[in-house]
């Protein structure tokens, strides 16, 4: 048993790792194929099994049979970062208030307000899509980055509040007090003393906002058409037309790579124990 255990342990770890990596490796090898490499059955190794070509990658930048990926990339960055920034500012303020002060409106108390924020995640996108469509139409913001940012704030604000409330609950109140003793107003104390000490929590909240913002498809799909086009929409549009697999694969890889860097950051905060409070 004791000699078998490490074998089983590393076997399981490597087995799951293979499952995790497989789609990326398949996409990577497919992105260098041409028509012959794809239509003659599954091929894996360049040079040995098929003749590699850069066609898939050049087609992303205006090459033949492809798309221009630069504009959707920029739109995705603008919308994701814009909505994340607004959500973090509003969410951090609200979470600090909910963690430090007592609010009451009739029977509504702090815990109910927190629940209201977090419960927005239960709403399936399809329920909101039609009203959002009409709302943005009314505001003249259909098919615009600003319209999407407004919609994404509704999706990301609950995440920011959820992460930050638990974070502030674990920050000692003595810290705020010292600021008050020095004669700061709550707002000043918050900005000068609490915020700098809350950076790990804010970064974790920001990472989650960026992940969920960058990865949304449905709202971008229903609320934008031609003027603004986010990456997932651009790539799925390729999927439904007769786009070759090499272009699909290259575009998929280029759009998910930045998020892999975020995985490294999330792991850092995880190992330092900064994520523990957020899930209780």
């Amino acid at each position: 048993m004791s000699r078998l255990y490490p074998v089983l342990k590393y076997g399981a770890i490597l087995g799951w790792s293979a499952f995790v990596v497989a789609p990326f490796l398949w996409a990577l090898t497919t992105s260098f194929k041409t028509i012959n490499g794809v239509t003659s059955g599954p091929r894996y190794l360049p040079w040995l099994q098929y003749e590699p070509s850069l066609q898939g990658w050049t087609s992303l930048f205006g090459g033949t049979g492809g798309i221009d990926i630069v504009q959707p990339y920029m739109d995705s960055i603008v919308v994701t970062l814009g909505a994340s920034a607004i959500s973090i500012v509003l969410g951090t303020l609200a979470a600090y208030g909910l963690s430090r002060f007592k609010y009451q409106l009739g029977f509504v108390k702090n815990s109910d307000i927190v629940f209201f924020f977090v419960s927005q995640r239960i709403m399936p996108p399809v329920v909101l899509a039609i009203p959002f469509f009409l709302m943005l139409q009314f505001l003249g913001l259909l098919d615009s980055a600003l319209g999407l940012i407004i919609v994404y704030v509704a999706l990301l604000l609950p995440i920011a509040v959820w992460v930050m409330v638990d974070f502030f609950n674990n920050v000692p109140r003595q810290l705020d007090e010292m600021a008050m003793l020095d004669g700061c107003t709550p707002l000043r104390g918050f900005v000068l003393v609490v915020l700098p000490n809350s950076l790990p929590g804010i970064i974790v909240a920001a990472l989650f906002c960026v992940i969920f913002g960058w990865n949304d498809f449905f709202f971008a799909f229903t609320l934008t058409f031609t003027q603004t086009q986010l990456l997932p929409v651009a790539i799925v549009a390729l999927n439904s037309s007769v786009t070759p697999w090499w272009t699909l694969s290259a575009s998929a890889l280029i759009s998910v790579t930045p998020l892999v860097i975020i995985a490294v950051l999330v792991e850092r905060f995880l190992s330092r124990g900064h994520l523990a409070g957020a899930i209780r």
């Binding site: 399981a12 430090r100 002060f101 239960i122 604000l157 998910v256």
Partner: protein, 321 residues
């Protein structure tokens, strides 16, 4: 808005000492100033969320009582006939049942796998930082985009999925075109994408556990299996319940994967509630009917999630005693 300013009752914060100024920590200013300042913190976020969410919700409820469709757009009043139609719509209830099956099935598998993987990279493993990162990667990637890749993997003759089956001596499958296999394919993609989320939540929980119970178990000479059932698992129960509920909420919204992988097909074999509502609402433009389906769906989700949360609490926490 009359948000009252009752200062926190002293008994509500046991163990927090009074500060030098005699004020309770958390009660930062005298009542008059506190009222103003505490609203500055909460209101911007709350008002923004209410503005963005309240309109769609109220609007959906109102539209669900109208006959709004592609030929007659507008808010007339037809009473509850959309809801009558809904109760007789077998396709709607079938999509709900399918959603329950897929969501509960994937989340159960994700929980078991995620817990096992989190335990594996918790301690004493070579390269654990590397494997932790690797185990998180799929949840960072865009679901629709990775599903586009999965679709090429599941291609019957040109994709590698059937190669892998042959490697294990298993028969080739019609991954996306036979109804049973299509459900399995959707579940495989979901499990690939979201098991990392379970790993993240459960590993964060494991890393925050106190050390003393484990030392005590070691002194008592408990083996790894005994330690797990007597110490680790009971300590992880609250985190487990939280993680399962969060994943169930997210899994119940499943839509992107289905849209790209199977479009609900073959037939309606992988059509979940969100996808059916999408077809009726945004493809057929039966806005009124889709709104009634949406609202009924919301109510059903909230009720069933409450029951599931209670059931989980009883089932998992009961074992601790």
């Amino acid at each position: 808005m009359a948000l009252g300013v009752e200062p926190p009752a002293p008994s509500s914060e046991p163990g927090v000492p009074l500060s030098r100024t005699g004020r309770r920590p958390g009660q930062l200013e005298g009542p008059g100033t506190a009222r103003r300042y505490k609203l500055y913190f909460l209101l911007p976020g709350l008002i923004v969320l209410l503005l963005i969410i309240l309109f769609p919700l109220l609007f959906t409820i109102r539209v669900s009582f109208s006959s709004w469709n592609v030929s007659q757009p507008g808010l007339d009043w037809i009473g509850g006939s959309n809801y009558e139609r809904l109760f007789a719509d077998a396709r709607y209830w079938a999509s709900l049942g399918r959603l329950a099956l897929i969501a509960i099935g994937t989340v159960a598998i994700e929980y078991v796998l995620g817990f096992a993987l989190a335990l594996l990279v918790w301690r004493e493993v070579k390269g654990r930082r590397f494997f932790r990162v690797l185990f998180l990667v799929p949840m960072m990637t865009t679901p629709v985009i990775m599903t586009v890749i999965w679709r090429t993997i599941f291609h019957e003759s040109l994709g590698p999925a059937n190669d892998v089956m042959a490697l294990f001596g298993l028969p080739a499958q019609q991954w996306l075109t036979s109804s049973g296999a299509a459900v399995v394919s959707v579940m495989i993609v979901e499990i690939w994408q979201w098991t990392p989320f379970m790993v993240l939540l459960l590993l964060a929980g494991l890393l925050s556990l106190p050390r003393e119970p484990f030392l005590a178990a070691a002194i008592d000479g408990a083996g790894p299996i005994r330690t797990f059932f007597r110490v680790t698992f009971p300590l992880m129960v609250p985190i487990s319940i939280g993680a399962i509920i969060i994943r169930l909420i997210e899994a119940s919204k499943i839509m992107d994967t289905v849209y790209v992988l199977t479009s609900g097909g073959p037939g309606t074999a992988t059509e979940t509630s969100s996808y059916y509502i999408y077809i009726r609402g945004l493809r057929d433009f039966q806005i009124g009917y889709a709104a009634s389906m949406s609202f009924a769906y919301l109510v059903i989700m909230i009720v069933s999630l409450t029951f599931i949360a209670r059931g989980l609490n009883r089932a998992l926490a009961g074992r601790r005693a």
